[in-house]
């Protein structure tokens, strides 16, 4: 990254040389460029380099010298009668437009290439520059209209709301596209509400303008305000679901730990050492009920909610509607209605559940069969908008695989099956460690030794046995 910054400022110096700029501003730019090089050499890490660059305002000083040099050169060209004519100005402007289209596409492709699979879809929705690029291409087309002159080109840009695309301008079309995409790809209600409110605010501002346009700087703060307004609600929603999801996933984990296939599924399959894998499974069988119990207490304390309320949680419902729920309906119903009621510290896990879960697992019905749908929904959206195979091109041909034989989710049926039927734990219940305590085991060991000593063992053997027995049961 530091190399690319260095190259950027080297390009400035090279540009000044190419323009035959010499004198105090060139000397100034060169002086600070050399300081940049010195900082690169002497800084122990990239972060320190950036901090020092910032402290000394190196970037600002180089840019400042460059700007002054260009201005001075332009002013002397102006005084010498060397002012650009309209045709030249038009050509320079249109070249900038072509360069900006190229830069936007290259930047988008680079970001997609470097993104993880999880982020790629979000980036394709939120950061796709195609609508902005369409605006720029309209400008280029405008410049090529027969008889177009430079002042008319400038005027028409303003009148058509195309004049400040460089300022990351927003147009109604960009907002509409984003909202359209969010609805097509089944985004969460709050996120859609935010966009709808933005569109309404945009229209209100546009009505006040003769050209129906919204100034980019004005828009920046209107948009920020709307996002600021909804941020607490979105955060609360996410924190609530974080706990709900933890409990549901831990119930699943607790059940799987009892099943014969546990050794072959995640998370335990990731433990290469077979003995350690077995120990982890045994441990999770025993600790998960206590962990789940504590998460339930937090859910109640923070938000006044119990597990049964999950079926009305907006994020839970959203995962089902948007096909991002990983569990099948069959598994979630089983977990909520059957597994959850018996999930208490020290409880025996019912053998019937082990058989049931193993059967589901073997028949490949544990996962949501529609997890590939989000990809195809987005594909249909993009193909309709930007042409066939657009999605394949930007996702590099990667497609999700369908592996589950489960029945697809039916939300209405699910709610009907579980509403009012999910049990409630009494979170004030106190549990006693049912497993033999160290003292009990040590007492037992002493009893064994006493018995054996009655049968004529030596005193030394008695002490050894007692120590051995006690040591066995120490944690």
């Amino acid at each position: 990254m530091a190399e690319s910054i260095k190259q950027g400022y080297k390009n400035i110096l090279d540009d000044m040389k190419n323009r035959n700029i010499t004198g105090k501003y060139y000397d100034e730019a060169e002086k600070y460029y050399n300081r940049l090089l010195e900082l690169m050499e002497t800084s122990p890490d990239v972060n320190t380099f950036y901090a020092k660059m910032n402290d000394e305002n190196i970037a600002v000083k180089i840019s400042d010298a460059y700007s002054r040099a260009l201005t001075e050169q332009a002013e002397s060209a102006n005084n010498g009668g060397g002012i650009y004519d309209d045709d030249t100005l038009m050509k320079m402007y249109v070249k900038t437009l072509h360069d900006s289209v190229k830069a936007m596409r290259e930047s988008f492709e680079k970001v997609l290439k470097e993104a993880s699979d999880a982020d790629r879809q979000r980036i394709m929705v939120d950061n796709n520059p195609e609508e902005l690029i369409k605006g720029v291409e309209e400008l280029i087309a405008l410049s090529e209209e027969p008889g177009m002159t430079y002042p008319n080109f400038l005027r028409l840009q303003i009148e058509r709301g195309l004049d400040d695309f460089n300022a990351s301008s927003i147009t109604r079309k960009v907002l509409e596209t984003q909202l359209d995409c969010y609805k097509c790809t089944i985004s969460q209600d709050l996120e859609i509400k935010v966009l709808e409110e933005k569109l309404e605010a945009y229209d209100q501002l546009a009505r006040m303008n003769k050209f129906g346009k919204v100034d980019a700087h004005v828009w920046e703060f209107v948009e920020k305000k709307i996002e600021w307004k909804y941020a607490p609600e979105i955060k609360k929603r996410d924190q609530i679901y974080h706990i709900f999801k933890n409990i549901l996933d831990d119930l699943d984990l607790w059940e799987m730990a009892h099943c014969p296939f546990a050794m072959n599924v995640e998370p335990w399959a990731m433990i290469f050492d077979v003995e350690k894998r077995k120990q982890a499974i045994e441990r999770d069988k025993n600790i998960m009920p206590g962990v789940i119990w504590e998460y339930e207490k937090l859910l109640l304390h923070y938000f006044g909610l119990k597990l049964k309320d999950i079926i009305h949680d907006q994020s839970f419902i959203h995962e089902i509607k948007a096909y991002t729920m990983i569990h099948s309906q069959e598994i979630v119903e089983h977990l909520l209605l059957e597994v959850y009621p018996v999930c208490k510290p020290f409880n025996q896990f019912p053998q019937s559940f082990i058989s049931k879960r193993t059967e589901i697992q073997n028949a490949k019905r544990e996962e949501n069969p529609d997890q590939d749908k989000p990809f195809y929904i987005l594909k249909a959206y993009y193909d309709a908008r930007y042409g066939e195979e657009y999605m394949e091109k930007i996702s590099k041909g990667m497609k999700p695989k369908k592996t589950s034989a489960a029945k697809p989710w039916n939300l209405e049926e699910f709610l009907n099956n579980v509403e009012g039927k999910i049990g409630e734990h009494n979170l004030d219940e106190v549990f006693e460690d049912q497993s033999p305590s160290v003292i009990d085991k040590a007492k037992g060991a002493v009893d064994v030794v006493k018995e054996k000593s009655r049968k004529g063992f030596s005193l030394f053997k008695k002490a050894s046995d007692l120590i051995y027995q006690i040591k066995r049961f120490l944690p």
Partner: protein, 229 residues
């Protein structure tokens, strides 16, 4: 009598004014652009316009900045963010130092440079503010995990594992904090990240928890990362 080219340029400058009409947030731009537009109508030749231009075009740049930073100051006042508001106010103070007429191209460069310097300085303040203000929210779920694994009822033989798990979570939090502090040291001139900033409204409003729970978790977090006060 104006020629066709002049008429086209006048129409362009009319559009420049009209885009800011009826917009109270662009009042300075509207005034500056109107003055420039009036010049285009005052003379029929480009030579005369050039001779009488003065700094009217430069005034438009300063007017745009004034509008932008007044909006910014107003917005950050509304959302109660004094850290970001400070930058906008400093920039407005700098703009006020310039005369209303007679500005030159180098004035634009000077002001542009000043804006960049002030923005960069303010970015440092913002990093410091956010690093502290968001620390507790970023670590909240881990703090919950500590409570869960500390209090969970489990068979005696697993208590050691639960305790170790808690120790590991705390160690990871300490390591994350150390990395952040190390990163931040270069920018913060010796200040430690301050998680007490979570109490400021701009961060507090994002925490869906009671004041009591926040204070409890804040105390625990500060103990873990060894911050006093």
């Amino acid at each position: 009598m104006a020629d066709k080219r002049m008429e086209e340029y006048r129409a362009y400058y009319d559009a420049r004014v009209e885009r800011y009409a009826n917009n109270p947030k662009k009042k300075h731009s509207f005034e500056a652009e109107s003055n420039l537009r009036d010049l285009m109508y005052k003379y029929d030749s480009f030579e005369e316009i050039k001779d009488n231009l003065g700094s009217l075009n430069i005034d438009c740049a300063f007017a745009a900045w004034q509008d932008q930073y007044e909006m910014e100051s107003e917005y950050y006042k509304e959302v109660d963010d004094p850290v970001r508001k400070k930058c906008a106010d400093k920039i407005l103070d700098e703009i006020e130092k310039y005369p209303k007429t007679g500005l030159s191209n180098s004035s634009v460069i000077d002001m542009g440079t000043k804006i960049t310097e002030l923005t960069n300085q303010n970015n440092n303040e913002i990093y410091y503010d956010e690093a502290g203000g968001k620390a507790l929210l970023d670590e909240w779920n881990h703090l919950d995990e500590i409570d869960v694994y500390t209090n969970a009822v489990v068979p005696g033989k697993y208590k050691y594992y639960m305790q170790k798990f808690v120790v590991d979570i705390k160690k990871e939090m300490q390591e994350r904090n150390e990395r952040n502090e190390k990163y931040f040291k270069a920018w913060s001139k010796g200040r430690r990240i301050d998680p007490n900033l979570v109490r400021e409204n701009r961060y507090r409003r994002l925490m869906p928890y009671s004041d009591e729970d926040i204070e409890k978790q804040l105390k625990k977090y500060k103990e873990i990362i060894n911050i006093k006060g």
